[in-house]
Each structure stands twice: as C-alpha cells, then as structure tokens.
C-alpha cells in the first residue's frame, strides 16, 4: 500500500507527448458497449420519463392520477398483490427444493438441478398455454377432480388471479432456487452436526442454525423473484384472460390501444423507480452476509 502511494504522484503527472494514461486504453475498449447501452437502454428510459411529464400536457398531471384514478390504483394493487403472492409461494416451494438439493448426494443433486433448470429452456408462451390446457374447465385437473368425485362442478382455475399466480410461480421457482441453493451450499455441514451434538432436535437445528444461515439466499431470492414478477407480461396476459390486468399489460393497453402515452409512460416510470428502490434496499440487506460469513 505505501509503495503504491509513493508511486502515484509520478504516474499521475502527465507525461508530455503521451496524452492518455495506460488505463485509458481499456476504457476506450469499453466505450462502444457503453455507448450502445446508453443509446438502447438508458436513453429510451429517460425518454419514457420525459413523456410521463409532458404528455398530454406538461406537468405532474399523470402522476396525480396515481392518487385519484381508481383504475390505476386497482392495477397497482393487483400487481403488487399477485407479485407478493407469487414471491411467497415461489420462495416456499423454492426453499423446499433447494433444501432437498443441498442435502442430496452429488449424483442426485445433478438430476435435481437439471429438473429445476429444464423449464427455463421452454418458451414462456408454451408454458402459459400448457397451463391453460391443464387448468381450463375441461382441462386435466378439473376432469381428474370431477372423475375422482372430489368436486361437483369444474373449479375456476384459470383466467383469474389464481391462474396467473400458478403460471408465474412455475416460471419463478428456478430463479428462487438458485440463490437459495448457493447460500445453502455455503453452510458448513459440521455446524448442523454440531447443533445436534449439543442437544438440538432436527427441527431446532433447522430453525436456529440452517434457516438463519440460509437467510441471505432467501432475501436475495425474494428480491429477485419480486422484481422479475413486477414486469410479467405474457403469462398474466394469457392466464389472466384479459380480465385481470397487471402493470405491464395495462401499460401496453394505454400506449397501443388507447394511445394515452403519458399514462403508460407514467406507470412504466413508477415501475422502474420501484425496482431501483427495491434493489437499493437489497444492497443494504446483503451486507448481512458479511456479518454472517465473515469468518471464512
């Protein structure tokens, strides 16, 4: 460290003839990618932000509607509710799966992982329609339940919030499993043995040792699933049957069908800000990890 400090003034002094310090070369290499990102990603978002303040008339009119228009509030409420339920269910299922995978033998673990990751390679469209076929009135689930005599008439399993949640959970479970599995794999198995040796039952070992130590993974998975869920478009569109509107579909409706650019851009901006805010909070929470695993 002191050596670097001593060298620094000399290196910082501009040498005549050589305009750029050596590192500049690397930044130049990154420049095209940076410009591309700005042009294709940041610029449109800024433009959306601008539109939300200028269309149809300049001012905060669009944002005012957040507090006054029941329609917008209902969409936001529905979105938050569905995303929250999806997150909780995906976390519970994902946690159980990750737990089994983490404790499985290496051979079994490979198969489990393959099983978890396989759905990721199937188009979201295909999966949504597959759920429709399974859950509709004459679908496999209803037919099965009817045949078994468990229900009198078909349940409404699709084209409502339930259907959306099923589709979204199915999509999100792998995303929930991976961060949690990573956290669980980091837990020293000797800690679990030690806890039992000290008199804890299996349940207590889980509650007092395993769960707290896997918490960073749980939090990470929760944030990831929630954020990705907020932007869901195809799955709610197909499994909601147009009756349950979530944010993404509502934005599309405003812009493409009603040509109310300002309103669409406003909700899009709100979505982006929500996601960034969640990430900012998350960045603080991950510090827990340092606290927990600092010893190794």
């Amino acid at each position: 460290m002191p050596r670097d400090a001593a060298v620094l003034p000399a290196a910082a002094a501009p040498r005549p003839g050589l305009a750029l310090p050596r590192e500049a070369g690397w930044w130049l290499l990154l420049l095209p990618a940076f410009l591309l990102m700005t042009a294709l990603y940041v610029a449109p978002i800024l433009q959306v932000l601008a539109i939300s303040f200028t269309e149809p008339t300049p001012g905060l009119g669009n944002y005012e509607r957040l507090f006054t228009a029941a329609g917008v509030q209902r969409v936001i409420g529905t979105t938050l509710r569905i995303c929250a339920v999806t997150t909780v269910v995906a976390l519970v299922l994902g946690y159980a799966l990750a737990y089994v995978i983490a404790l499985a033998s290496p051979r079994a673990r490979r198969w489990w992982l393959l099983g978890v990751l396989l759905p990721l390679w199937i188009s979201v469209l295909v999966r949504a329609f597959a759920w429709v076929t399974l859950l509709r009135r004459q679908g496999l689930v209803n037919e099965g339940l009817l045949a078994a005599g468990l229900i009198e008439e078909p349940l409404k399993l699709v084209w409502n919030e339930f259907g959306i949640v099923v589709g979204m959970v199915h999509y999100m479970v792998p995303y929930a499993v991976l961060p949690m599995l990573a956290a669980m794999r980091e837990i020293d198995p000797r800690l679990l043995a030690a806890a039992r040796g000290l008199g804890a039952s299996r349940l207590t070992v889980f509650g007092r040792v395993f769960l707290p130590l896997s918490m960073p993974g749980l939090v990470a998975a929760g944030v990831l699933v929630f954020i990705v869920s907020l932007g869901f478009y195809i799955t709610p569109a197909i499994l909601g049957g147009g009756k349950t509107l979530m944010a993404a579909e509502w934005i599309k409706l405003q812009i493409l069908d009603l040509v109310r650019w300002g309103m669409g851009a406003m909700l899009a901006s709100v979505l982006v800000v929500t996601i960034l805010a969640t990430l900012a909070i998350f960045a603080r929470v991950v510090d827990l990890r340092r606290l927990f695993g600092g010893g190794h």
Binding site: R190, R196, L198, A200, L291, G295
Partner: protein
C-alpha cells in the same frame, strides 16, 4: 495463561460428574472397506482417553460412533453399562468440540455458548449464569458479545470448549481440538485443557494424530492402525513397553534390532544379532526364537574411552544434526546396521563429525521385545 479462573458452577459437583464409557466390538464398514475393525475399550470415570493413530486409521469414525453421528455396523457403545448405541446424538448429552470448532457464525460468543442450554429450555437467569461461568472457565469473559469471526484461533477453540462444557455433559468428545493452532498456542492450550480436565473431573475422549499431544494430555492412549486397536494403556506404558513394531515406531522414534535368542538365564537372556551378542534383562522368547527388539535413540549412550556397558557396539558417525537441546546421530555399525542416537548436548563427550569412530552402549533393560505387526494382528 494457566492461571485458574474463579470456580464457577461447572466445577461444583465435579467428583460425581464423570461417566464410564465402554466400546464393545465396534466395527464400521464403508462398502468393502473396513474403517473400524472390532474395537473394544473402556474409559473409566473422569479419565482422559486419547485415540491416536495415523491419518485414515479410523479415529474420527470411532468418535462419531461414540457421539451417535455414525451408526456402527457391529458392536455397542455403553455409558455406565447402559447400551446407548441406538440413541440419536441429541439425546446422548455429550459435549463435543469439532475439528475446526464449528462455531455458529450468526451467533455471538455468548449465544454460541448458550445454545445447548437454550435447546434444553433452561430459564433465562440460569442460562446467563451458566454461560458466564463457562466463559470464565475458559477465560473469555470479556468476549461475550463478539462474533466467532472476530476471534483468534485459540479463542475460538476455547469458545468451542465452553459451549461443549456449559451443559454439564456426561462426556466430552474432542476431535483434533488443537490441530488448527500454531505450535506455541497448541502447547499453551494443551496445558489449559489438562488443567481443565483435572478441575472438572469429567470423562474426556479426544482424537489426535499428534503423539506429543496424546502423551502429554492423556491418562490412557489407544493406538489405532488400519481401524484396529493396536494397544491401549497409560502413555508411559505405551512408550516404555510398546507391544508392536508399529506402536514403537509411531510413538516417538525407535531402532529395531533383529536377532535370535541364544540362552535364557536368571541374570538375563542373550540375543545373537549378527556377530553381536546382546544382553537382555527380560526374556524375549524361548531359545532359538527370532525376536525383534525396539531400542529408543535416547537410551543409547556414547561410551568414553575404556568405558564399559552391558551392551556395546562400535561404529562410525554417518550423519549428525544439532537440534538445540541435543544431537541426533546416525551411527553405522557393522552388525546392527544404522543406529539412531539422541544425545543431550550437555552430555555429548565429543564434537560430532562425520566418519568419527564411536562406541555405543546401552543397558540390558533399554531394549524391549516387540511383535511384528503381522504377528500382532
């Protein structure tokens, strides 16, 4: 470092605290591989037993069977005569210090130590009192609110010890408790551990592959090799009278002399090794038998000009090293091959030099007959 902390609740009732442990024909197979082979031994109340053996000899496996983490293939574990083989680990009430300590990283030192009490649903006041006493016992009173990651290796080891002792366990199990520490700290903690054992009078079973640790800490040492119990006894007995070649070579260093028993008399026996007649006080075997003698390097003396000894051979120094406290010499003899000699520096009559002719001598009690390992099996 060795100063004794004020006696806490843990020390009270120490006399009644020890429990006797017995292993009966304990075996464990992994596939076709026998990790532990019919091990039987007994640890009396309040004793310190160390399982000592080279890597892979089955020490950890035996300890895990005692703790209940590994189910024995055959045999039984008995505590005070009661069969506990089928009892799950959390019902055995054994304190355990794991290799690497296994402290819970998400808990403070105090929470770690309180853990066994918490799972036993002890009241808050009693819990705090016991945690304080346990931390006092290992001299870590000022560290209660730290996390394990903020402690040194030696401090972590003592937290692990406090956590294992805080609930007055029937038995304390230690898996390589000191192996992660540097040499000096290890020596310090060895003394502390020994003092602690004396003070609380509990039964300790420890595992190590460090022979010095085993000799200095234990009342009884069990030497293991290839999953088998080779010899069990107090450290002095094992060192002075090893039963097999393996024990003699594993505990300390040893020269091995092979010879044939020529005569057996009241004054001693004569063993013919090459052209040398060795005098042995004990009776290594019937006349005509081939025997193996173990001779410790420190029991060989360098004889001065004209000095006699019950056994004497001539040779020359083939190699030597100065070790601070003494010299280590390799002396080439014509009949007995190369003999290793450990010579205290203050008693070395000569300055060693390669090629220097010397005479070695040892008493008739110095060498002990040992069995070849194949014969002992």
């Amino acid at each position: 470092m060795t100063a004794v902390a004020r006696p806490g609740a843990l020390v009270a009732g120490a006399e009644s605290a020890g429990h006797a442990l017995e292993l009966r024909g304990l075996s464990k197979r992994y596939g076709g591989f026998t990790a532990v082979d019919a091990v039987s031994l007994r640890v009396e109340r309040g004793q310190f037993l160390t399982l000592l053996g080279p890597s892979g000899s089955g020490k950890t496996t035996i300890l895990m069977m005692i703790a209940g983490f590994v189910a024995p293939g055959e045999g039984a574990v008995l505590l005070d005569g009661r069969d506990i083989t089928a009892l799950p680990p959390e019902r055995r009430d054994f304190g355990m210090v794991f290799q690497g300590y296994a402290l819970f990283p998400h808990m403070t030192v105090a929470e770690n130590v309180a853990f066994p009490l918490r799972v036993r649903r002890l009241g808050r006041a009693a819990r705090e009192e016991k945690v304080r006493a346990a931390l006092d016992l290992v001299q870590l009173s000022g560290f209660a609110d730290r996390r394990p990651s903020q402690l040194s290796g030696g401090q972590q080891q003592r937290v692990a010890l406090a956590r294992a002792l805080v609930f007055d366990p029937d038995l304390l199990l230690l898996d390589e408790p000191l192996s992660a520490l540097d040499r000096k700290l290890r020596a310090e903690l060895q003394e502390e551990l020994k003092a602690l054992h004396r003070r609380i009078g509990r039964t300790f079973v420890s595992v190590t592959h460090d022979q010095e640790e085993a000799l200095s800490l234990s009342d009884q040492v069990a030497i293991l090799n290839h999953g088998r119990l080779v010899q069990l006894g107090p450290p002095e007995a094992l060192y002075e009278r090893p039963r097999t070649r393996f024990v003699a070579g594993f505990l300390g260093h040893s020269n091995f002399l092979r010879g044939t028993v020529r005569e057996v008399a009241a004054a001693g026996s004569v063993v013919q090794a090459g052209g040398t007649r060795l005098l042995q006080r004990d009776e290594p075997g019937p006349p005509g038998a081939t025997v193996l003698l173990s001779l410790r390097p420190e029991k060989i003396a360098l004889l001065a000009e004209g000095e006699g000894a019950e056994n004497a051979v001539a040779g020359s120094i083939a190699a030597w090293a100065y070790l601070g406290a003494g010299y280590s010499l390799s002396v080439a003899t014509c009949d007995l091959g190369v003999l290793h000699v450990a010579l205290p520096a203050w008693r070395a009559p000569i300055a060693p030099r390669e090629g220097l002719p010397v005479r070695l001598g040892w008493s008739a009690e110095a060498a002990v007959p040992v069995l070849e390992d194949a014969d002992a099996a």
